[in-house]
């Protein structure tokens, strides 16, 4: 197999940075074996199990009423959680990346906090607040408002677990881009909103999209946190992942995997868009040094 030189990595073009062939093949086989065994095989299994009893059973499981209402709730939760965390992410990134203030490091760490909290704990905290025996429980009951074991609880838990996604993509990106371009816009008379819309947003759009995609994938796929606050009422407080669990526990394996394959498809679409966005980010960051405005702004600081 003739390999063209241009396809080689920078390390493969120089013999001093190469392993002996047998070492190379051994390491490659080990890495790819691990990949195939732990990642690829489960992915295939989802679809294979879903289709095991034929296409008809597969689609019957998908157009089942309970599946559709679960799909509705999943879309609703994501449709609320993603925009909320998007607005928050932009606000947090603006304040952290463009300004200096005390406690900035602490704030950045606190924003990441939901990632390190177990999903089960994430669900529990809302039960402690809004559950029948929680802080606001008696008040909510008196006013006939249901949060736990109802849709609002599911939305809240989803917002919590997807909280940092957009912010953590935007903060390092906006920090790296500095604030010279925005300052130039302000000095030239643009107001804050114009500056953000015409200067900042075009610069961070791919990072923003990246954060939104990951946020959405997690919002639609969350299981642990939502499971604690849901109450598992079929047709009412079931999201797709919870519906998968119920079907599986009822030994309706084909139906469970049919619904699961829908979620796996969502995961694959997420990965495709993510890879595409990443390649765009690489392209724009490669183009940056050639763009004139940046260098001009930098030169006047000398």
């Amino acid at each position: 197999m003739a390999i063209q030189k241009k396809n080689l990595t920078k390390f493969e073009q120089r013999s001093a940075t190469q392993e002996k062939p047998w070492v190379r093949y051994f390491l490659l086989a080990l890495a790819l074996g691990f990949f195939a065994f732990f990642l690829l095989l489960p992915l295939f299994a989802v679809f294979a199990e879903g289709l095991r009893k034929g296409l008809q059973t597969y689609f019957e499981a998908l157009i089942d009423n309970n599946t559709l209402s679960a799909l509705n709730l999943t879309l609703l939760a994501a449709a609320i959680a993603v925009p909320l965390n998007l607005v928050f992410g932009v606000a947090a990134a603006w304040t952290i990346a463009k300004f200096q203030f005390r406690g900035k490091q602490l704030l950045t760490t606190l924003i990441d906090l939901p990632f390190s909290v177990s999903p089960v704990v994430a669900g529990l905290i809302y039960v402690l607040l809004f559950g029948a025996q929680g802080w606001f429980g008696p008040w909510l009951q008196a006013h006939d408002v249901k949060i736990i074991f109802a849709v609002p609880g599911i939305v809240l838990a989803t917002v919590f677990v997807t909280f940092p996604f957009v912010a953590r993509e935007l903060i390092p990106l906006m920090e790296a881009q500095g604030k010279e371009e925005e300052e130039a816009a302000i000095v030239l008379g643009a107001n804050g909103w114009q500056t953000f819309w015409h200067v900042t947003l075009p610069n961070v759009k791919w990072g923003l999209l990246y954060g939104v995609i990951l946020c959405n994938a997690r919002a639609m796929g969350e299981f642990g946190a939502v499971s604690v606050v849901s109450g598992h009422i079929r047709g009412q407080t079931n999201t797709l992942p919870l519906h998968v669990e119920i079907l599986y526990n009822e030994y309706q394996f084909s139906a469970a995997f049919a619904v699961a394959s829908l979620l796996a498809l969502l995961a694959l679409v997420t990965l495709v868009i993510k890879t595409w966005v990443e390649s765009r980010v690489h392209q724009t960051s490669d183009e940056l040094p050639m763009e004139a405005p940046r260098t001009i702004i930098q030169s006047d600081t000398v």
Binding site: F38, T109, F163
Partner: protein, 288 residues
Amino acid sequence: MSTVPPLTIPPTKARARNVLPGFRLTLGYTIFYLSLIVLIPLSAVFFKTSTMGWEAFWHTVADSRVIATYKISFGLSLLAAAINAVFGLLLAWALVRYSFVGKRIVDALVDLPFALPTAVTGITLATIYAKDGWIGQFLEPLGIKVAYTPLGILVALIFIGVPFVVRTVQPILEDIETELEEAAASLGAQRWQTFRYVLLPVLWPALLTGFALAFARAVGEYGSVIFIAGNIPMVSEITPLMIITKLEQYDYEGATAIALVMLLLSFALLLLINVLQAWSAKRIGRTS
């Protein structure tokens, strides 16, 4: 940009003044939203446990069945993170150093555990490792049981931890210049020595960060584990499941007490990860 209003240069009071608007608004909103969604709800765990008294708290969190879950959760998470550190490094190495067919697909699919809902992971792993499953049927004659044993928990924790190590090590590995290794080789180092004494010290902080991230995720993981774990008390029960069990018995205090233990561990890990990342950033700054 043709609609920009006529030029009005804002008066500058001090040289160092930040001309950008919106600081108070965005900081205010950030703190408000963070408090509303994260900080106040999390503080409920602390307040709830503070009302239950030391004796009752200790009785709950040091119960032998709960202690068993710590051992299982922490022990298996450590083991899974260690296995991921080794194979994650190997996978990152293959992705950066070697050319092979389908490399872009492999690279994209490394993030599958991030994107795949945990419940899907859970039922899939439970099915392929069951005794008549794709992998389970080959392990059954060898006397190895994976599904519904602690080994099953380990498999699930390895799956969800893969991307953490690969994605922290990969960028560092990409940034390493060939000159370093060429210098080592020209000074007579064997390939293994170059790796051990030149590359590994540079990779070490990132590797540890990836390890810590994978561990932190594994300890709290619920969805992908419970289907394959079997959930047998004292044998294959994880700590998050213990919280659920207490909740289902309407023992809110007990659930909260265990949640507090997990939260404190999360905070400690978060601190450790921050320190590691600062160290990693410093190390990279020095070598480039």
